[in-house]
């Protein structure tokens, strides 16, 4: 079991390690992520939302749908913890 896990880990690691060869250089301003969608945010976010903090503008507005579900995720965690732990005495697990 452990050797199987080790092999799986090494294979995944090798795959990821080898594919870093195709990546743009770290910190380069010309890499695709820094050139396509994000440019619009940096240039226009302040104008379009009047929020100086671009991260807040993107989080709250451009990708607000994500953030809504982010709150729902943490709400689920709270409800889930309650649902898992709050059992009546008579349905208690034996220890």
């Amino acid at each position: 079991m452990k050797s199987l896990a080790l092999v799986a880990t090494l294979v995944t690691g090798a795959l990821l390690f080898y594919s870093t060869g195709d990546f743009a250089e770290w910190g380069s301003a010309d890499s695709p992520p820094n050139q396509h969608v994000s440019v619009h945010y940096v240039e226009k976010a302040v104008e379009e939302t009047h929020v100086p903090n671009i991260v807040t503008a993107v989080l709250g507005d451009y990708r607000g749908y994500d953030t809504m579900f982010e709150l729902v995720v943490i709400y689920c965690a709270g409800t889930g913890v309650m649902a898992i732990l709050r059992r009546r005495e008579d349905e208690e697990d034996e220890s």
């Binding site: 990546f23 743009a24 396509h36 619009h40 994500d66 729902v72 995720v73 889930g80 649902a83 709050r86």
Partner: protein
């Protein structure tokens, strides 16, 4: 196009769950009307939306009125409209049966159960709608977290199975997120259609192959594709029955839909990836998965456990059918998503009804059920026939399309696996029917010792409804394929 109807489908269960937490804690009587009302509203709206989409064509909706690559895009096309309707209807039917079960099993945690239940439904609907790769991850985690919670509410081994599911599910989601990260690094965008535009230029890049591999493997873990299925049987069979009737039909099917959606966006025909051996490798893996899962199902002595292994085999059907990448294969896959959701719902409802009265689903305890619960067993038999693929029921038609697709693509391993699995299903279900019909032996024939003891109407009525639906959907397969599923498949995959 400024219609928000499909957003209300999603918002109705979501908002209801918050109100349920405020009001349902004090007044248990409010839970049933809240849950049923919101899901009924969703189903009705989903029906209207599907009709509208068929009339006017796909709607591209942008949340927050930001144009697609910058904002989050939602796509309502015939396929997602069909899935929305399926999710809403299955959740509505399952919630009828869940109510008595949850009151019996969970006592004062009923409202917590239904909060998670409603958010799970909303999450599944969101998954079906979204056309944004990262939003898909967030929603995938919502459905996972609610499912972890629902499963861990069960008794006995449930927490341990839930923990295994948490670890496997997190690996799947993390792999998916890594894959999306790679795609973002290579293209600079998260919108699926926008990513697809950049892909032809990136052909042959090793990083792109890695990205797609991670996305696919992540989804395969989530849908329990054969070698990665380890978490599913324990998790689904240990879940509280009220949760099982909803999770089992919907979770894996929605994940299969997601794989289809990603294939439709990323792997347009003509793109080199599917001309390689990869495609037939996946189909072979599916074939091996179908055979192994069916063989494992033969070894089970518990009805619910056996059903979970059949689910794993069915996932093999759908993954294999999708990767045949020809018209009958994909048509069959979409049709099978619908049919399999209904068949699994029928069988799990029957299992829930039997367990409600007998308390156990071990084969030895299923004796004389035809005398005790004739209506339940009639519905169970219809479900079993559908699972085997006996003609008037819907299971036959989707299997027929899948077979045709396999023959057209020349994937004989897959065809053999389909036939083998149908035979195994026949053996499995006739074994149960034998137990349930003939019972222990001759000593109690003639005596009126066995009383009829059907499950409560809240479970029985939805069960009978689904059993009828199995036949109705089966008989209307032709129109369904012609008028709906043909429209749902992108033009490149047809013909």
């Amino acid at each position: 196009m400024n219609s928000n109807l499909h957003m209300y489908i999603l918002a109705a269960p979501l908002l209801t769950s918050f109100f349920l937490d405020i009001f349902g804690r004090k007044k248990q009587g409010l839970i049933a009307p809240f849950v049923l009302g919101s899901l009924a509203l969703s189903s009705a709206l989903a029906f209207v939306v599907l009709g509208r989409v068929l009339e006017t064509g796909p709607i591209s909706y942008t949340v927050g009125a930001w144009l697609p690559p910058w904002g989050i895009e939602l796509l309502v096309d015939p396929l997602s409209g069909l899935m929305l309707l399926l999710i809403a209807v299955v959740a509505l039917i399952a919630s009828f049966a869940a109510l008595p079960w949850v009151r019996k099993e969970l006592h004062d945690r009923v409202h917590l159960f239904f909060i998670l239940y409603l958010i799970l439904v909303a999450g599944l609907m969101g998954l079906v709608l979204t056309a944004d790769a990262f939003n898909l991850y967030v929603l995938l985690e919502i459905t996972s977290i609610t499912t972890y919670g629902l499963i861990a509410m069960g008794r006995g081994r449930a927490p341990l199975s839930s923990f295994n599911y948490i670890i496997m599910g997190s690996i799947g989601a993390s792999f998916y997120l890594l894959g999306v990260g790679y795609l973002y690094l290579l293209t600079g965008t998260l919108n699926m259609a926008d990513i697809a535009q950049f892909l032809p230029a990136l052909q042959g890049s090793f990083a792109l192959g890695t990205a797609l591999a991670f996305v696919l493997v992540g989804l395969w873990i989530k849908m329990a594709f054969f070698p990665l299925h380890g978490w599913l049987p324990m998790a689904y069979s240990q879940a509280p029955s009220g949760a099982g009737v909803m999770i089992a039909p919907l979770m894996t099917k929605v994940t299969v839909y997601l794989m289809l959606r990603l294939m439709f966006s990323f792997i347009a025909p003509g793109f080199s990836m599917y001309e390689t051996d990869l495609q037939s490798m996946i189909v072979w893996a599916a074939a091996i998965g179908i055979i192994s899962a069916s063989a494992l199902a033969l070894g089970q002595r518990d009805l619910k456990k056996m059903l979970t292994y059949i689910i794993v085999a069915e996932v093999g059907y759908m993954v294999g059918g999708a990767w045949l990448i020809n018209e009958p294969g994909i048509t069959g896959t979409v049709l099978h998503i619908v049919n399999d959701a209904l068949m699994t719902l029928c069988l799990f409802l029957a299992a829930a009804a039997i367990a409600y009265r007998t308390g156990s689903l071990k084969f030895e305890n299923l004796t004389n059920l035809y005398q005790k619960m004739p209506l339940t067993m009639a519905a169970f038999t219809v479900g079993a026939f559908a699972m085997i693929g006996v003609p008037p029921t819907c299971g036959f038609f989707s299997k027929w399309y899948l077979l045709l697709g396999g023959i057209e693509a020349g994937q004989w391993g897959y065809v053999v696996a389909l036939v083998f699995s149908s035979l195994v299903n026949a053996i499995l279900f006739f074994r149960i029917i034998e137990y349930a019909y003939f019972g222990k032996g001759a000593d109690d024939h003639g005596h009126a010792a066995i009383e009829r003891n059907e499950a409560p109407l809240m479970i029985l009525c939805p069960l009978l409804l689904v059993a009828v639906a199995l036949i109705v959907v089966g008989l209307s397969s032709g129109p369904l394929v012609e008028n709906l599923i043909k429209l749902a498949i992108p033009a490149g995959f047809l013909g």
